[in-house]
Symmetry: D2
Subunit: 264 residues, 4 copies
C-alpha cells in the first residue's frame, strides 16, 4: 500500500538532494532562477522564456509598497525580537490577507471561476464581454466588490497594471484571464457609472493564472515577492531603525489622551 507521507517536491539521501524530480546540484543550481524554481515546484512545469519575464514582472510589482502595515509589523517585531529575523518576516507576511496582497489571489480565483465553463483559449472578444457583464452584475446584485479593481492610493491608475498588459503583449500575448479583467473593469464602469482602475494585485493575479499557477495557489505565490520586500525592510530596520521611535510616539500620544475618557 502507498504511504500517505509523500511529496513530489523534495527528497534526499546521503549523497543527493532531489527537487521536483531533478538533481538539485547538477540540474537546478546554475540552471534555474528562484522564480523559475518557484513556478516549477508549484506547477510541475518549466516556465517558458516569455513566462519567466512575466513571472518576474508580477513578483517585482508586488514586492513592496513602502511602509505598509506588513512592513511596519516586520519592523516592530524586530524591535522586540532582533534575535529572530524569521519571526519578523513571518509577522509581516501575516498581514497579507484579504485586504492587502490577498486580492491577487481573489482576483485569480474570480477570473478562473468565470472562465471555468469556457474554453479559455478560444474565447472571443464578444464572449469575454458577455461573461464580464454577467459576473459584474452578479456581484453588484449581492452588494459585493469586484475583485481586482480600485486602490486607495492609485485612484485613477495603478501604474503596475498597464505595465503588466504591455509586458504580456510583448511576451506571448495577453492571456484570457488578463483580457477578461479588462472587460470586467469596463463592465464595472458602465454598470456603476464610476471608473475604478485595475489594480496591480489584480492584474498580477490574472497573469499568474494565465501562466498556469493554480488560482488557489496565487495568494501564496505572491508571498514570495512580499518576503523579498520585507527582507529589505528588516535590513534597513537594523541599520536605520524606526520601530522603537514609532513605539515611543504611539505610547506617548495614546497615554496623553487617556484622561479625555476614551472608552475604546
Amino acid at each position: 500500500v502507498t504511504d500517505y507521507l509523500r511529496t513530489w517536491i523534495g527528497s534526499s539521501d546521503a549523497d543527493h538532494i532531489t527537487i521536483g524530480g531533478l538533481d538539485l546540484a547538477s540540474e537546478v543550481m546554475g540552471h534555474f532562477t528562484l522564480t523559475e524554481l518557484a513556478f516549477y515546484l508549484t506547477t510541475h512545469r518549466r516556465a517558458t522564456e516569455a513566462g519567466r519575464v512575466l513571472l518576474d514582472a508580477v513578483l517585482v510589482a508586488l514586492a513592496d509598497h513602502g511602509l505598509t502595515p506588513s512592513a511596519l509589523s516586520t519592523r516592530l517585531t524586530y524591535t522586540g525580537a532582533p534575535e529572530a529575523p524569521q519571526a519578523a518576516i513571518a509577522a509581516g507576511l501575516l498581514g497579507a490577507g484579504s485586504v492587502f496582497l490577498g486580492p491577487a489571489g481573489d482576483t485569480a480565483q474570480f477570473l478562473a471561476d468565470a472562465l471555468s465553463a469556457e474554453n479559455p483559449v478560444g474565447a472571443d472578444e464578444e464572449r469575454l464581454r458577455e461573461i464580464a457583464f454577467a459576473v459584474v452584475e452578479q456581484l453588484r446584485a449581492t452588494g459585493r466588490r469586484v475583485p481586482g479593481l480600485g486602490h486607495p492610493v492609485h485612484k485613477v491608475e495603478d501604474p503596475r497594471a498597464p505595465r503588466l498588459y504591455e509586458l504580456a503583449a510583448a511576451n506571448g500575448g495577453v492571456g484570457p484571464h488578463l483580457r477578461l479583467l479588462q472587460f470586467v473593469a469596463d463592465a464595472n464602469t458602465e454598470l456603476s457609472g464610476r471608473r475604478l482602475p485595475i489594480n496591480g494585485a489584480g492584474a498580477g493575479g490574472a497573469v499568474l493564472v494565465d501562466l498556469g499557477v493554480p488560482p488557489s495557489s496565487v495568494r501564496a505565490f505572491v508571498l514570495i515577492a512580499r518576503t523579498a520586500g520585507l527582507v529589505a525592510h528588516l535590513a534597513e530596520e537594523a541599520a536605520a531603525p524606526i520601530g522603537r521611535a514609532l513605539y515611543a510616539e504611539a505610547d506617548e500620544r495614546s497615554s496623553r489622551q487617556n484622561p479625555a475618557g476614551f472608552a475604546g
Copy 2:
C-alpha cells in the same frame, strides 16, 4: 528636522510607485528578476551578471529539503486554517531558526567576523589558513560547534557545497569568505581528527557575504528561498493533503500509549 518615519525602499503617490529610487513600472518591471530586486533593495547595489547567477544558485539550493519541520508546519497549519495561506507560510518560516537554515546566517556572521580586521580582497592563502586555525581553535576551546560544517543527512558531502564552489569559480571567482570556509573545514578536520563536510547553508551564507549581503541580513535573505519551497508544499497540500492523516496518526499513536503511564 528630519522625520524618523522614512524608508529608502519604497514610496508612492497617486500615479507612481518608487522602489529603491527607481520607478517601479518603467525601471524595475521587465528589467529585474525577483532575485535581482531582493539583492538591490537589501544592498542598494545592482547585482552583476556573475553575481546574479550565484545569488540564484544559493537561493535554489536552500529552497527546499523535502518534508522538513518547516514544510510539515506549513501543511499542518493549512489543515486547520485553509482560508489563510499566509498563516501557513508564516508557520513554516518560523522554524527556520538556529537549527535549520539559520546556520546560513550564523556562518556568514562567523566568517565576516573572522575577516573583519583583515583586508578581505588581499588575504593570501597563508593568512586565510592562519585565521581558520585561530577561529576553529577558539571555538573548540569554548566547546562550541563550527558554523557551516556538518549535516545530519549528508554526512560525507553535502552536494550543494561543491556545486557552489564550482559555480563561484566560474562566475567571478571564489570570494574570500567562501575560501575561508574551506580553510575552516580543513582546520576542523586537522584539529578534531574528524572530517565534517561543508554544508549547503554554510556555503550559501559565505557566497552571499562575498556578494555584498550584510552578514546580519543573511538569515532573513535565505527566507525568500524557503518561502518559495513552502509555497509549493502548500499547493501540493491542497491537491494531495497529508496534514489531516498525519494528525490522525499522531493522535492515534499517542492516545494508544497513554495508559503506559508516560509522564512527559
Copy 3:
C-alpha cells in the same frame, strides 16, 4: 482634535501602569485572575462570580486536545528554532482557523446573528425553536454545515458540551445562545435525519456570547486557552522531544516512496 492613536486598554507613565482605567499594581494585581482580566479588557465589564466559573470552564475545555496539528506545529517549530519560544507558540496558534477552534467563533456569530432581531432575554422556548428551524433550513438550502455541531472524534457526544450546559445551569442559568444551540441541534436532527452532537467549541462559543463577549471577538478569545495548552506542549517538547523524530520519520517514509513516481 482627538488623536486617533488611543486605547482604553493600557497606558503608563514613569510611576504608574493603568489597565482598563484601573491601577495595575493596586487594583488589578492580587484582585483579578487572568481570565477575569481578559474578560474585563475585552468587554469593559467585570465578570460576575457565576460568569467567572463559566469563563474558566470554557477556557479549560478548549485549552488542549492532544497532539493536534497546532501542537505538532509548535513542537516542530521548536525543533528548528529552540531559541524563539514565542515563534513556536505563534506557529501553533496559526492553525487555529476555520477548521479547529475557529468554530467556536463561527458558532458564536451564527447564534448571535440568529438572535439579533429578537429580545434574547425574553425569547420563549417556542420562539427559539422556530428560529432554530429557520436558520438550519437556510443553511441546508445553501448546502452549508451547521456551526457548532459534529466532531471527527466525538461522533456521539462531545463530553465538553453537556458539562457546559450543566455548569451554566448551576451558575446563573443557561443563556439564550446556549439554549438556541440545543434547539439548533434538535432541528438539525429532525431536518437531516441524522443526529450530530453539539461540539465543545460550539458550546463554548455560545457561553461566551451569553456572558457578553462580542461574537466577533470569540475566535480570538479562545486563543488564550489554546496558548496555555501550547505552552505545556513546548515545555514537554523541551524535556521529551518528538519533533526531530517526527521529521526523521516523515523524511524517511517520503524519501523511500518517491521512486514510485508520485506526482503530487
Copy 4:
C-alpha cells in the same frame, strides 16, 4: 517498544478527553481556572491556593502595557487580514522576544543558574548576598546587562515589582529566586554606582521559578498573559480601528521625505 509519539498533556477517544491524566469534563471543567490548568500542564503539579494568587498576579502584571510594538503589530495585521484573528494574535506574540517580555524568562534562567549549585530553600541572607555580588560582577566583567533590572519608562520604580514582593510575602513568603533578585539589584547599585529598579518582567520571572515553573518555560508561560492583552487590543481594533490611520500616516510622512535623499 515505546512509540516516541506520545504526550502526557492530552488524549481522547470517542467519549472522553483526558488532560494531564484527568478527565477534562468531570475533573477539570468547573474545578480549574485557566491559570491553574496552565500551571498544572506545564509543571505536572497542582497550584496551592497561595500559588494561584501569585500566578495570577504575575500574569495580569504582564498582560498589557498599552500600544507596545506587539499591540501595534496585532492591530496592523488585523488591518490587512481581518478574517484571520489568529494571525493577528500570532503577529503580536512574535515581538515578545529578547527585548520585551523575554526578560522574564532570561531573569528566571539567570536566577536559577545562580542558585543551581545551592540548596535554594536553605540559602541564608549572607549567602544570597554573596551569590548576588558574584553574578553581577561576572556580568559586569563581560560587559553584559543584569537581567531583571531597568525599564525604559519606569526609571525609578516599576510599580509591578514591589507589588509582587508584597503579594509573595502575604502568600507563602518571598521565595529564594525573588529574594536573590533583590540582592542582585542591591549589588548592581553598589557595583555600578547607579540604581536600576527591578522590573516587572524580572520579578514575574523570579516568582514563576519560585512556584516551580521550569526556568526554560518561563518565556513561553508569560505569553499566555500577553495573548490576553492582545485579544483585547484586537477587539478594540475591530470597534475603534487605528491600524489603517497609522498606515496612512506612516506612508504619508515617509513618502513626503524621500526627495530629501535618505538612503536607508
